[in-house]
């Protein structure tokens, strides 16, 4: 059941928040041992909050579509009085004294916070095979990774434990798990959702957004979490729109850009076929597919990597005296970051400006872009290299290759499932829009995916 379906059922008195919460807790109890999606389950607090939500709704106090709905947040969002680890042994016992802005908004919207989802250590990676808290497993095939770093959120939503889990995205960490787990993942424009109270990784690249089982659900969550927050210096004062698309929106006349360079150069053939089929589907609904060349995405990926290496190491460097507290992959990245000179960081931020200008020119020619989210489907746990078109590629670099460049541009982007590969694993379509065009990309996504995502039988 999607979030909005549950919300409608609540208001028809067909169910209660207490029943929804109990069912979610039962599902977690059954599936978490084999997926490890949930890091912390707040069962008692959730039951209490659900009871309260039912009482509020009964007396006509309705806080909106999230009221009484069980949700989860990635374990890097501060939760007052509840452990927030960031997937790191450094913060294994850290209990914040305040909520993240996103958590405040969800609670003000009446949501029932069921718990915290597991993640890649410090959000710095894409496997979610966490050396301190165990590997998170993909509900579609538990020998495979869910993607990351918001891997627990992807697995919890795909596994039906919650209809929405919040994630964060610094180089693809919402969209990659959405692609690998076959759910909807929305990375809003930089500045649209407050970063306050979310453990940072790359200050200028971090974005917060939901993973859901339908496109309309993602819009409904964005309605609640978007908006200006003075505690986040990069927060935008631009007014918030209604982001929930119509059930059957029109995309007639929309110009959808399909890149001729970079994005289709090295892909699993099943991924390419599914994304091209999605383009045909959009065309059959009256959209115009515009073939075009995009600016140098490889260069943008390089710029994003330099920025992230420097920002993450600046942030976490003081902890590096305790080298045994880090997993080997994260430690290697943090060591690399300490060797990036300050001049490179400044120049990367200058290049970012240049490329922002180059990319801005695209939006006079098209309304949005279609690309694959990831060139591959979910790899096996422990795989460090993947073969694409007979070429071996590092799994982390492959998984981030088509998504990372969007972060330094700060553009809104989402991933929706658009088919499955020969093994039945989900394939993701990435839709990218101009700044603050969340409503538009959600409308396009809804036209292609009007129903709940397909879910694995568990």
């Amino acid at each position: 059941m999607t979030l909005l379906e549950a919300a409608a059922a609540l208001r028809r008195r067909e169910t209660s928040s207490a029943e929804l919460t109990a069912a979610a807790l039962q599902r977690i109890e059954r599936l978490n041992p084999s997926t490890n999606a949930m890091q912390t389950v707040m069962a008692e607090a959730a039951r209490e909050r659900a009871k309260q939500a039912d009482q509020e709704l009964a007396r006509g106090e309705d806080h909106g579509p999230l009221h009484g709905i069980p949700v989860a947040v990635k374990d890097l969002f501060y939760t007052k009085g509840v452990r927030t680890t960031g997937g790191s042994s450094l913060f294994a016992d850290y209990i914040p004294d305040h909520d993240a802005a996103v958590v405040e908004s969800l609670c003000a919207g009446g949501a029932v916070l069921l718990g915290k989802t597991g993640m890649h250590e410090l959000a710095y990676g894409i496997t979610s095979s966490n050396p301190h808290f165990g590997a998170i497993r993909n509900p579609w095939d538990r020998d495979r990774i869910p993607g990351g770093s918001s891997g627990g959120s992807g697995a919890a939503v795909a596994g039906g434990m919650v209809s929405m889990a919040m994630g964060s995205d610094t180089g693809g960490s919402i969209r990659i798990p959405a692609s690998f787990c076959g759910v909807v993942g929305l990375k809003p424009t930089y500045g649209r959702v407050s970063r306050y109270g979310a453990m940072p990784l790359g200050f200028s690249l971090d974005h917060m957004g939901p993973l859901t089982r339908s496109v309309r659900d993602a819009g409904a969550v964005l309605n609640v979490i978007a908006g200006y927050d003075r505690r986040d210096e990069t927060s935008s004062r631009r007014p918030v729109e209604n982001y929930v698309p119509e059930i059957e929106p029109s995309i007639r006349g929309l110009r959808i850009g399909l890149p001729e360079n970079f994005y289709f150069e090295r892909l699993d053939p099943d991924v390419e076929a599914a994304v091209r089929a999605a383009c045909q589907s959009a065309e059959s609904r009256g959209a115009e597919i515009v073939l075009l060349r995009v600016p140098d995405i490889a260069a943008l990926n390089t710029v994003a990597r330099v920025i992230l290496l420097a920002e993450a190491s600046a942030l976490l460097g003081p902890h590096l005296e305790q080298r045994d507290r880090f997993g080997p992959d994260v430690l290697a990245l943090l060591d690399q970051g300490r060797l990036v000179p300050a001049t490179d960081y400044v120049n990367a931020q200058r290049l970012r400006r240049v490329m922002q200008g180059e990319f801005a020119g695209l939006w006079s020619r098209v309304d949005c872009l279609f690309t694959p989210t990831t060139p591959i489907t979910a790899p096996r746990i422990g795989e460090t290299a993947t073969a694409i078109s007979s070429q071996s590629e590092d799994v982390r670099l492959a998984a981030t290759r088509l998504v990372r460049a969007i972060n330094p541009l700060g553009l809104p982007a989402l991933s929706i499932p658009c088919g499955a590969d020969r093994r039945g694993l989900p394939i993701g379509l990435q839709i990218v829009g101009p700044p603050y065009a969340e409503a538009l990309i959600l409308r396009v996504a809804q036209a292609l995916l009007p129903a709940e995502v397909a879910v694995p039988r568990l």
Binding site: S204, R230, E233, T234, A298, A299, T302, V303, R305, V306, L309, L320, E321, L331, A332, D335, Q336, R338, L339, P341, T343, D344, V346, N347, A348, Q349, R350, L351, R352, R353, V354, Q356
Partner: protein
């Protein structure tokens, strides 16, 4: 910054007082070299008037 010689990461780490074990430096050297090779040409093409995309307000926007 303008030459194309490979950097000696061990010497740089030592000069900066970074306690990174040699074995760890050997493991990351290839990644750093590859990043250098990709990044250096981009920097050379930067127009001098381009300012960095940093966020700072001399006054609280509130």
């Amino acid at each position: 910054m303008s030459n194309d010689r490979k950097k000696d990461w061990k010497k740089i780490a030592r000069a900066n007082g970074l306690a990174i074990p040699d074995a760890a430096l050997e493991r990351i050297a290839q990644s750093l070299d590859a990043l250098e090779a990709d990044f250096r040409p981009l920097v050379r093409a930067l127009p001098p008037e381009t300012e960095p995309a940093t966020v700072f307000h001399a006054e609280d926007p509130e």
